[in-house]
């Protein structure tokens, strides 16, 4: 088989194919950097063009895009704090906190190198594991897949943060959001208010953008200064390399987690990224820096997410079962070129297999190098008033959200999730557990249901299941046993309870409590099987939010002054809401120019000439991008009449 390695690299080094690979990489990097638009959007945009190319050239173009998305998204996550794609949310948490401390170069350097390692490991495993991977994938029945979801949830418990009740409430909110939509086997459609839009459940892109991205944009509009109050210096790459070498084994382990996440169909890059991040926290001796800018969080997440998207290709090539959404489109492209991946692929098309591996490896390395080259220039952008960057970002997020169904529902959902994310940020609820809960809710329910349907309860005694339970509990028990001899630092009660009585926290706790209570009564009308997942969130969620509300009410006097920032940002949030409603009424093309004008002149205080020029450029680019994305911008109810 190895005799095909050289012909394949020769085939790839053909100038036209290399050019296609680079075009794919360029598109992948741009979409990786744009929040809300990621691998799926990049690959779908390229898809129509590959039909004009020969098979190897077209596939190389797609692979170029797939391989760099999770490298380039690091830039946005670190510099702006809005995740460039859902799977880099941990990078946005840790990397952005580091950027605020002036360590953006370190965060970016580690992120790029970890992404590269993840990509290369993915490529290596793609090459050598295919003969081995078959039996492994086939050894994993639905009960084992269910246990993996539980492992993910278990790891997520390390992200709950300093205040347990707020962390739990956030996690339950995430699981609840994940239960919206079809129950197993479509027996019930939960919490859909009879809206067709909700029949498929909520889109991960929109939930991630809303929870993390919108709140950042709002505070950018409201502030106006830079990230670390001035220029973010991205010059000293040395620290990045040193940190990378220091954490090489962590990155390697996380890349393995990522590869494994790719192996298993239906576990996306987001889930394995969170598992890797949780692993980094668990394996750390001083986990208290996580959430405040710990480079290990960046290393773990970036090592994992790139490895996952590459090894998503393993089940795709081995069984024609795509490991993730971008891999699904890649599979479609393979079909179109007349390749039907399956167990015989390696013997029938060895050269194609090598072409895929080489493309991925080459793109991973060159992608990281390009990121190193462009990051300093992009970091200089952060010197600009923040509202200047926020303006195009808002448009891109709206566009990204609109890709999931191309209906107004996407816009409203982005606004709603943005409102929740904003309130969580100001009420000091950690947003990571909410996203993890959301990501894992679906596989958890699906595999639990299938396991019970196929095996009854006997699946609990399957050897694979017992091994996973053992591996999960062993370090936990070890730690518990060890901690009997050590006295841990006690976090001060005052710090833990800070902000509990703030009006935002009171309002959020009350809203979530009411939502949970309503949902509980609503869930009584569902069949017992469909109630399980929501009840997992609601039954513990109701007392926790109740507790938050009561504790908050008792401290309301102490914390009543803790909200100037929230009050200051409120008008910006309302304006964003107004913009979405304006899109609904008159359409994107009429609503956007006034909104952009407001952002540029009122928020960023631009001068009239430069503002007009800049505004025209971003409006034109957004219309252009919408038309490239094929579905066109939303028209609004009265838009076509005007």
């Amino acid at each position: 088989m190895l005799e095909h390695a050289l012909p394949a690299i020769e085939a790839l080094l053909d100038p036209i194919r290399l050019a296609a690979l680079f075009v794919g990489m360029a598109v992948g990097m741009i979409f990786g950097m744009l929040p809300g638009l990621g691998g799926v959007a990049a690959v779908s945009i390229l898809l129509p063009f590959i039909y004009f190319l020969d098979d190897y050239t077209g596939l190389a173009m797609l692979l170029g895009a797939i391989s760099v998305v999770y490298t380039a998204d690091t830039i946005t996550s670190v510099l702006i704090g809005a995740p460039g794609s859902p799977a880099s949310a941990p990078t946005a948490i840790e990397g952005h906190a580091l950027a605020k401390q002036g360590k953006a170069a370190t965060a970016l350097g580690v992120g790029f190198l970890a992404s590269m390692v993840g990509g290369l490991l993915g490529a290596l495993i793609l090459l050598f594991a295919i003969p081995v991977a078959g039996p492994i994938v086939l050894a994993l029945g639905t009960p084992e897949l269910f246990m993996f979801a539980i492992v993910g949830l278990f790891f997520a418990s390390s992200m709950l943060g300093k205040n347990l009740s707020r962390g739990l409430a956030a996690a339950f909110l995430g699981i609840f959001l994940g239960s919206v939509g079809p129950a197993s086997a479509d027996a019930d459609f939960r919490f859909t208010f009879d809206q067709v839009y909700l029949l498929d459940g909520l889109s991960l892109t929109i939930v991630a953008l809303g929870l993390f991205g919108v709140a950042e944009v709002i505070s950018m509009l409201a502030s106006g200064g830079g990230i670390s109050r001035g220029e973010v210096p991205v010059t000293h790459w040395k620290d990045g390399f040193l940190e990378f070498l220091k954490h090489r084994w962590l990155i390697f382990r996380c890349a393995l987690i990522g590869v494994f996440g790719g192996f298993v169909p239906a576990v996306g890059a987001s889930a394995s990224t969170w598992v890797a991040y949780g692993h980094a926290i668990r394996s750390s001796k001083e986990p208290k820096y996580f959430g405040k800018g710990d480079i290990r969080g960046v290393a773990a997440a970036e090592g994992a997410n790139n490895a996952t998207i590459i090894s998503d290709l393993i089940p795709t090539l081995l069984f024609s079962v795509p490991g993730g959404p971008a891999a699904a489109i890649f599979l479609g492209a393979l079909f179109s070129f007349g390749y039907y991946p399956g167990p015989r692929m390696i013997t029938q098309n060895p050269e194609l297999m090598f072409l895929i591996v080489w493309s991925v490896a080459l793109a991973s390395v060159i992608g990281a190098i390009i990121c190193f080259l462009i990051a300093p220039a992009l970091a200089r952008l952060t010197k600009l008033p923040f509202a200047l960057i926020a303006a195009p970002l808002v448009l891109v997020m709206v566009m990204g959200a609109y890709q999931s169904t191309s209906t107004m529902g996407d816009m409203f959902m982005l606004l709603l999730m943005g409102l929740i994310g904003w309130a969580m940020k100001h009420a000091d609820w950690p947003r990571a557990p909410a996203l993890v809960g959301f990501v894992l809710a679906d596989p958890m329910e699906q595999y639990f249901w299938l396991s019970n349907q196929i095996h009854g309860w006997s699946w609990l005694m399957r050897p694979g299941v017992l091994i996973i339970i053992g591996l999960m509990l062993a370090p936990f028990i070890y730690r518990l046993w060890k901690s009997r001899f050590e006295k841990g630092e006690k976090v001060q009660d005052v710090e833990r309870e800070k902000g509990l009585g703030s009006p935002v926290n009171l309002a959020l706790s009350l809203t979530v409590l009411s939502l949970f209570t309503w949902a509980f009564f609503e869930s009584l009308t569902y069949s017992p099987d469909s109630r399980l997942l929501p009840w997992l969130a609601l039954i513990p969620g109701i007392p926790v939010t109740c507790f938050l509300l009561i504790r908050g009410y008792l401290c309301r006097e102490r914390d009543k002054d803790l909200m100037p920032q929230s009050i200051k940002e409120l008008p910006y949030l309302l304006s964003l809401g107004l913009y979405v409603f304006a899109i609904f009424i008159v359409g994107f093309s009429i609503a956007t120019p006034p909104f952009v004008a407001w952002m540029l002149f009122s928020c960023a205080k631009m001068r009239i000439h430069t503002g007009l020029l800049y505004g025209t450029v971003i409006c034109t680019l957004s219309f252009l991008l919408f038309s490239i994305l094929r579905n066109g911008a939303p028209d609004g109810i009265f838009g076509p009449l005007i």
Binding site: G141, D186, A187, D200, A266, P325, G332, Q453, I454, R630
Partner: protein, 350 residues
């Protein structure tokens, strides 16, 4: 000037007129990369080549709501000149036939431009001791079928079990036919249906290795419009009709068979159908019927389709439209039977 305009006029006439310089938008209500999207892209160059005026074809995905969102979009936005097409499967047709909530499209009123079969093959595990379709009632193990959702593309498969009177445990809730096939390979299920391209490339090798036993196909529509013929994609395998006749010694009949025939026709025989606005003029439809015939005769199409679908052909014209429309307009008894079966046996709520 006059000469020039005459020349342009002549050019248009000689090109056949309809779609010169126009763009036809083919809306696929599923994600790109899915089987429907791939099929639409597969047909795209042939339609561009054989439709009069060589229009530009633009395949657009509008996923969501299990295809209902995209079909509802089509209902609101389709143009009636044949430049907007809804290309979809039984996942759109079944909710319409069942009258599910949220369906705003009038599928049975739409014109049918062309249609492509989307056949499926049933197969079982050798561990059941079953050697061929005639042994199906003698399984050594309880039969377990893995599927996605009773009211979508699994429906004809589940109805075939009803017609044949099989005791099958149906485990629904997989996220796709791929994961369901993996569960079969893992031994968690032992009865499965797969659509043609996947059957040919993934299951046929397993049959050769002795890991799968092919059983039957849904069948193909005969000259009288009945779903009785063997499916040309797997001519060695009996149709469900034949299996029944073989098991029970008589023709299948009754409400189970009527329901199966209606649902299986729109799922398999007319599995991928291109719909147009109800007011589309007849000459546009005729142009598509002509193009479909030309595509079927195109040696390149024949060569490529041999690889993918074992040589399936497009169908179009009045007979096809009549068959699709009659399958979509199931009788009230069939609808009632389906709704009752789904709600009592599979817990589907309406």
């Amino acid at each position: 000037m006059a000469i020039l305009s005459t020349a342009i006029f002549a050019l248009e006439v000689s090109a056949g007129g309809h779609f010169k310089g126009k763009t036809i938008e083919i809306v696929v209500p599923f994600s790109p990369g899915g089987a429907t999207f791939v099929s639409a892209k597969f047909l795209e160059p042939y339609l561009e080549k054989h439709l009069p005026g060589n229009p530009d074809i633009n395949v657009v995905d509008r996923p969501g709501g299990g295809s209902i969102l995209g079909a509802n979009w089509f209902e609101k936005n389709a143009k009636s000149d044949g430049t907007t097409i809804l290309f979809t499967t039984s996942s759109t047709a079944n909710p319409f036939v069942l009258g599910k909530k949220g369906v705003a499209y009038r599928l049975a009123d739409y014109r049918v431009a062309y249609s492509h079969p989307f056949s499926a093959v049933a197969y079982t595990s050798p561990d059941t001791g079953i050697k061929s379709a005639s042994d199906i009632k003698k399984s050594k193990q309880p039969l377990v079928y893995g599927g996605i959702s009773a009211s979508a593309s699994d429906l004809p498969g589940l109805l075939s079990f009803e017609v044949l009177g099989l005791d099958v445990k149906s485990v629904l809730g997989f996220k796709g036919r791929g994961p369901a096939r993996l569960a079969f390979a893992q031994g968690e299920t032992n009865l499965d249906y797969q659509f043609t391209p996947v059957y040919l490339t993934q299951v046929v090798p397993s049959v050769a290795e002795g890991k799968a036993v092919p059983l039957w196909t849904g069948g193909a529509v005969d000259a009288n419009g009945n779903l009785r013929k063997r499916d040309p994609i797997a001519p060695d395998l009996p149709s469900v009709y034949e299996v029944y006749k073989n098991l029970y010694g008589k023709d299948p009949s009754g409400i189970e068979w009527d329901a199966f025939e209606a649902i299986a026709s729109v799922t398999y025989a007319y599995g991928l159908t291109a719909y147009m606005h109800p007011d589309t003029p007849q000459d546009v439809l005729d142009a598509f019927a002509k193009a479909a015939a030309a595509i079927n005769a195109d040696p390149e199409f024949q060569k490529e389709s041999k690889k993918v679908t074992n040589g399936a052909r497009l169908s179009a014209g009045p007979a096809t439209e009549k068959a699709v429309k009659s399958a979509l307009s199931a009788s009230p008894e069939v609808k009632k039977y389906l709704r009752e079966l789904l709600s009592t046996k599979f817990g589907v709520k309406f």
